[in-house]
Each structure stands twice: as structure tokens, then as C-alpha cells.
Symmetry: C2
Subunit: 449 residues, 2 copies
């Protein structure tokens, strides 16, 4: 952090003193991924000067890493010739991402500065549904023909390789462009130059369909440990590839979404600060409303037991403890089950196994909390009946809440809903209602109200 | 899924009919990552027959993917010669992982079947602290000398390449083994054979220290989009590399841990079913105890207001709604801030910016919930004072809980604690106390109790 600040100060000094040659040299040494953070604290004039000092290749690398606003301002400041240079260097999937996040007037200028052929491809890519494999793939890959020799393969790779996002995995196609094999650059390198590529390729190719969901794509990367996977159409013709860095982005996006769902926030792709107060409100209000109204049901149930707490007002003071413990137990179980379902360790047919595990855990947890709570309450109030009431309530609440917490996500999945909908807040609200009913019923019986 | 079942049935048939040649052919066609799932439903005799039919390379690939128990049983069934073959094929980091998860008698047999030289390396790797870069790196990489020509480089790569986990990034070392540059196989391929590697290498190398935390390693992969990064000791001598697939495992492990922390579960690396009831209890009980005892404080506070709800028992029935809404608002804010801190979008110095955003969101959310709740309560009870009491409580609870929810994670980070400790359950408990005090104080004033 401190080092970065020092670097930024040096940069600004060079800029103010107009030592552009030194600055250029300096920028060439810095990694592309570190440059966007320098731009954050600069005005647009400084940014554009700095940007023009970057080499062509580096300029494109830096460009993809910038925030959308900075991109937009930069495009506004670049000449058509400069913009065309940037666009030529960008990978196809990055261009598509750019177009998706820019306003329409900027898109027009971008499209004007892209080759006709590329424009056609981009339009095709833009037509795939959001979150489909087609929408995240790139069309830059090395395709070899099955009758090529290794030597011919290398010629093709060397000729085209510079432009391709990854050349380390090459795809072997039949004459009708159907994918018939895959070969790593490593294997090509170690093979006899005169062999046919079809002799050394792997024919057991893992492919992705263009309309496959990006979450399934990420799972395939995780399972098969590949750096790139080919995307094929209905007739197994190769149409694109997805590289591992895009798969990582998807994994992180999905984890981020799950975190937000767990906190009763509607997932959004925007970052915290860039989301407006209005959008933040919109993402949070629905669940708050739903949960407020459903907790009112618990309130209504409480009014039914007015007699109980009119007789023994002390009972009210244990409501937070009972509800809190029930809610926490339920959300522990639901989170573990939701994660287990997500990583496919828990399957639908395992519901009884899960329930059996949770009930046993609940029993042990319940007894432990019972002991601690009874000791505390007895020392404070010397009331054995109260201790028993609270203890029985605790144990039964914990068993009920762990059962509900573990089963509801499985039921949601069975009904083809996202199990994450059963995350902590909703489970807590459901469990609250059960705990209150258990509590007052048990109290009524044991304390004889 | 259905397809997998069909495949499994076919496999078992071939096995029972002892058609080993067909079975061998069949297994050769299946991807290594798909084979472990077949083993799940087989007994150890069937497993060992199947395993022996795999090619040497495939056997090693399948082996790393197996569950620890299956690995252990398989090692028990293999002859020393077979075990040595598997060990020879395994990458160094996979061997280390294996040793870390096996019981000591199995480790002894494994070490006996590893070359002396490798054994020394493994011991070094085992000495790095858990979760450090050293503990996840592999020692198999291609190192070039800076005075080599491209042609000499290719000779070395072809000679050694077969054994290396990745040959797509090569590291260029000085005579003292200090890292001076990095070069992609792609650049080597496209360069003039007679050039020196030092002319085409990148000198701006991103490195990882051996003792760097694995979480920081994962962040570097995410930031710099590399397939492999070099690990260096204090004197920048190359000691190992980390490949992107290991970085992905770290990212997923860390996300998993955060999910568990959010649900008040102490993170464990074991999967759901493999964790015993005892361990499940151990991982969950501490937080439950802490939260139970702290919610008892809220209970004690409630007893102070016995007069209020003795006068108006209806007040009790709104406790779940007030506490629930406060808790949900607080956990929304804390989750978003914890994630923002984790991805480094939110920095410590931004606390005022975060607070200002949360307060504005709280105001809008508060007013909306106020309106809905007032309408509902007025229609039900026709009591204006009650509506105002609840409304004022709601708005102030929401503001307080969103402020607490957003600031506590930042404070935790400032105190060098994990911000995730301030996840939903703890925030909820803190917020509960505040909401109850606000509620009864506001009620006392407005309703004139």
C-alpha cells in the first residue's frame, strides 16, 4: 500500500515535470494490472497523457482492467485512429463485455472503429442469452484440421497464434468443422514432426454447449482442471472457447450472489460504491417487506398467549434468547445444506441422511445449551419449573429448527427453486414462529398457567 | 446423471463377465475426472481390478481425485511395485497433499516407495506452515538460464517437459538461481531460434514469497490473470511454482470458510457427510453459546420494562417484528461491507463514505417500511399512537442497525480481526439489544406509560 502511494507520487512528479520519456520507460516496467489504480487518482487530462505513453499491447491490456466510467471518458478523449488501435488489440470477448456496459452513443463510435468482419462476429456473440456459455466465450482459438501433420500445425499456430487468446490448447476439426479431437501445445512440441495430428490428439473431448449456463461451465472447469474448454453448437461444430480466467470470474460472481442471497439482498453485479442509494434500497426492500410481514404472524401468535405473560411477565424476557438460538441453529443447518447442495455433495435422495445427522447434532447441542442455561437461570431466579420450561423449550426448538433448516433447502431444490432462497433470514423467520409456539405451550403446561 | 448410471451399469456388467479387454478399452475413453464416481459404488475388490486396468498416467490422474478413504484402501491393496509407479507419476504437490491426509502407517509405506531425492524435497515442502505459499507450491517447473538461446531452451523443455506440471510458462534464472525473467512458451515459439532468451523474456516478474498467505496468492492470480506464478525465497531464488488450479482451490476454500463464518459455524475443511456428529457439534456450539448468553442480556433489559408491557400487553407482540427487521437490516449491511472489504473495494479510510451511504439507504428503507407497517397496524387496531410508536421505532432501529452493521466489520478489520466475525449472527444479537431499548423507550414516551 505504502509502496503504491510512493509510486503514484513519483509518477505524478514525472508527469508535472513533463519528463515523458522517463514516464514511458517507467510505465513499461509496471505490470498492466497495476496501472488502473494509478488512474483512479488522476484527472482525465493526466489519464489520457499517461494512456498515450503506453505501448499498443499494454494499452489494450490496461483498457480491459479499467472501470466502466474511466473507459467511457477515455473513449471520449481518444481520436478515431487511437480507438481503432485499442479495438484491434482487444480480445473478442472483452470487446463484447465493453459493448454491454457502454451507453448507446459510445457503442456507435466503437462499432464504427471495428472491422466489418469482427462486427459481424460481435453481433452474433451479443445474441446469446445473458449468463450462457455463448455470451462469455471468445471466438479466437487455434483450429487444426485432422489431416494436418505436426509441422503444418506449427506453421498455422505461428502464423495465427499472436492473435489468439490461448494457443496452449488446439482443437482438431473434421472437414465439416465438427470437433474431433484436442491437442496440447506440449504434446505437439514433443511429437515427431511428420506424424499426423490425428495420431496424437485426444479424442475424448469435454465440450460445452453454447446455451449451457455459465454456472455449469464453471463446474466443468473445476472438475476437469482444464485451462480452456471448447464451445460447440448443436451439431458439435466448434464455435468458440472459454478460458479459465473467464471461468474464475463466473465462480466469483456466483459466490458473490450466494453471499447476497444469504443476507436477504437481491444480487447485483455492480460494486458497493457504484450502486446508487436508490438501487441499494431496491435490492434490499423486497425481502425486508416479506420478512417484516411474516414476522408479524409470530406477533399475532404471541397475542394469543397474553394470559401467560400477564401471569408471569418474566417469560417475555426469554423470548430473545429462545428466538435467537432457534434462528442461529436453523441458519447453521440451512447454510451447510445449501453449500452441500451447491457443490453437489448432498443430493436430493440424501434428505433422510441429512435429517438424521442434524437431529443427532441438535440433541447434543440442545443438551449442552440446556445445561449452561439452566445453571445460569437457576442461580439467578432459583426457580426449578422455569429452568425445566426453558430447557425443554431449548432442546425442542433446536431439534425443530435444525430439521427445518436442513430440509427446506432440499425441498426448495426438489421444487426446482434456488435452495439459497431458504438462507438464514427466511429460515429464521419460519423458526421464530415455531419457537414461540413451542415456548408458550411448554410454559403453559409446565408452569401450570 | 441418468447417463452416468447407465455407464456404471455397463461397467459392472463388463466386470462381472470378466471382459477385461473391453473394460480397459472403455476406461481409456472415459475422462479421468469421471472415474472416481464409479468407484464410489464399488467394493474394494472391484475397485482394485478396475484401477489395475488403467494406464499408468491415467491411474495417477484418477488417484489424486479419489476420496482419502478410497486412497487409503487402495494403497493397502496395491503391491509395493504398483505403489511406486503411482508415486512416480504424481506431481510433487499432490504427493504432499496425500501425505498430509494419510495415517502414519500408510505414510511410512508411501515414503518407502519414493525416490530418495524426492523424499528430501517432500520433507522440505512439509515444513512450510499450513496455508502458506510454500505448502501449496510444486517444485516441478522449467527453469532456463539467461544466456541460453531459444534453440537451447527448446532442447531443455523437450527433455524435461514431460515431467513438469506446466511448461507453458518458463522461468529464466541467473547463475545464482535468482529469478530474472519469465517467458511464455508462445513467445519462445514465435521467436527467432538464434536469439538469446534474455532478449525476449519479460523482466517485470510477479513473484510470491514462500511464507505468503494462500489467500494473498489467490488474489494475485485474480489480479494478474496468470496461469502460473513463481515462488521465491528471501533472496528471490526460485524455489517452486503455483499453478492456477491450486489457486482456484484456495479461492473456493476461502469462500466456503466465509459462508460458514456467516452462519456462525467454525470453518472446517471436511465435507458435510464426512464430518462426524461430534465435530459438527464442536464447530457449532461455541458461537451458539456466545450468542445465547449475549441474547440473555437483551432479555435482562426487557425485564426493566415490565411496567410498559404490563400496561399494554400488545406491545410484546411487536417484539419479533422489530427485532427481526433490525437484524435483517444489520446483516444486509454487514454482509455487503464484509464482501467489499474482502475484495478490497472498501478500504478502512472509506468508513465515513460507507456510513453516509448506509444512513441514506436506511432512511429510504425505513420510510417505506413505516408506511406499510402503519397501514397494516392502523387497519387492525385503529390506534394512531401505536402506529407512531412503531413507525418511529422502525425508522430509528433501521438507521441504528445499518450503521452498526456497516461499521463493526470495518472496526474489526482496523483491530486486525477478521471482519467476517461481525457476520449476521453477531450483528443480529447486537442489534437486538439496541432495538429493544429503542422500542420500549419510544413507547414509554409516545404512549405515555
Amino acid at each position: 500500500m505504502l509502496e503504491e502511494l510512493k509510486e503514484l507520487k513519483e509518477l505524478k512528479e514525472l508527469l508535472q515535470e513533463k519528463k515523458f520519456a522517463n514516464l514511458k520507460e517507467y510505465l513499461e516496467k509496471v505490470n498492466s494490472a497495476d496501472i488502473p489504480s494509478f488512474f483512479e487518482d488522476m484527472n482525465i487530462e493526466e489519464t489520457i497523457i499517461m494512456y498515450r505513453l503506453l505501448s499498443k499491447e499494454k494499452a489494450a491490456e490496461v483498457f480491459t482492467e479499467l472501470d466502466p466510467e474511466v473507459k467511457e471518458r477515455l473513449i471520449g478523449a481518444l481520436t478515431d485512429k487511437e480507438l481503432k488501435e485499442v479495438m484491434d488489440e482487444l480480445y473478442m470477448d472483452d470487446t463484447v463485455d465493453l459493448i454491454e456496459e457502454m451507453p448507446s452513443n459510445v457503442i456507435k463510435r466503437i462499432l464504427k472503429n471495428i472491422d466489418k468482419e469482427d462486427r459481424k462476429l460481435i453481433n452474433e456473440l451479443l445474441n446469446y442469452p445473458e449468463d450462457s456459455a455463448g455470451s462469455i466465450m471468445t471466438t479466437e482459438f487455434v483450429d487444426l484440421k485432422e489431416n494436418m501433420t505436426i509441422e503444418e500445425c506449427f506453421k498455422k499456430i505461428k502464423k495465427e497464434g499472436m492473435d489468439k487468446e490461448t494457443i496452449y490448447t488446439c482443437y482438431v476439426l473434421s472437414l465439416t468443422r465438427k470437433i474431433v479431437g484436442v491437442v496440447g501445445l506440449k504434446d505437439l512440441l514433443l511429437a515427431d514432426k511428420n506424424k499426423k495430428v490425428s495420431e496424437i490428439m485426444y479424442t475424448n473431448v469435454i465440450t460445452i454447449g453454447t446455451y449451457e449456463d455459465q454456472e455449469d461451465v464453471a463446474k466443468k472447469f473445476d472438475k476437469y482442471n482444464k485451462y480452456a474448454l471448447p464451445v460447440v453448437d448443436n451439431e458439435t461444430r466448434l464455435v468458440g472457447i472459454i478460458t479459465i480466467d473467464d471461468a474464475i470470474d463466473v465462480m466469483q460472481e456466483e459466490a458473490e450472489e450466494d453471499f447476497e442471497k444469504m443476507a436477504a439482498v437481491i444480487p447485483s453485479e455492480e460494486s458497493y460504491f457504484k450502486t446508487s442509494v436508490f438501487t441499494h434500497t431496491k435490492n434490499r426492500i423486497i425481502w425486508l417487506l416479506v420478512l417484516m410481514i411474516s414476522s408479524a404472524i409470530t406477533g399475532t401468535v404471541i397475542t394469543k398467549y397474553e394470559n401467560a405473560f400477564a401471569a408471569i411477565p418474566l417469560l417475555v424476557s426469554f423470548i430473545p434468547m429462545i428466538m435467537g438460538t432457534g434462528g442461529n441453529c436453523g441458519s447453521q443447518s440451512s447454510t451447510l445444506v445449501i453449500r452441500g447442495l451447491a457443490v453437489e455433495e448432498i443430493k436430493l435422495k440424501d434428505w433422510l441422511k441429512v435429517l438424521w445427522k442434524e437431529v443427532r447434532v441438535a440433541l447434543v447441542v440442545g443438551v449442552l445449551l440446556f445445561v449452561v442455561n439452566s445453571a445460569k437461570v437457576y442461580l439467578e431466579y432459583r426457580d426449578l419449573k422455569l429452568c425445566i420450561t426453558l430447557g425443554v423449550t431449548l432442546v425442542s426448538t433446536i431439534i425443530v429448527s435444525k430439521s427445518i433448516g436442513s430440509l427446506l433447502p432440499i425441498i426448495a431444490k426438489k421444487l426446482k427453486q434456488d435452495p439459497a432462497i431458504m438462507a438464514a433470514p427466511l429460515i429464521t423467520t419460519v423458526v421464530d414462529l415455531c419457537s414461540i409456539m413451542l415456548y408458550f405451550n411448554i410454559a403453559t403446561i409446565i408452569m401450570g398457567i
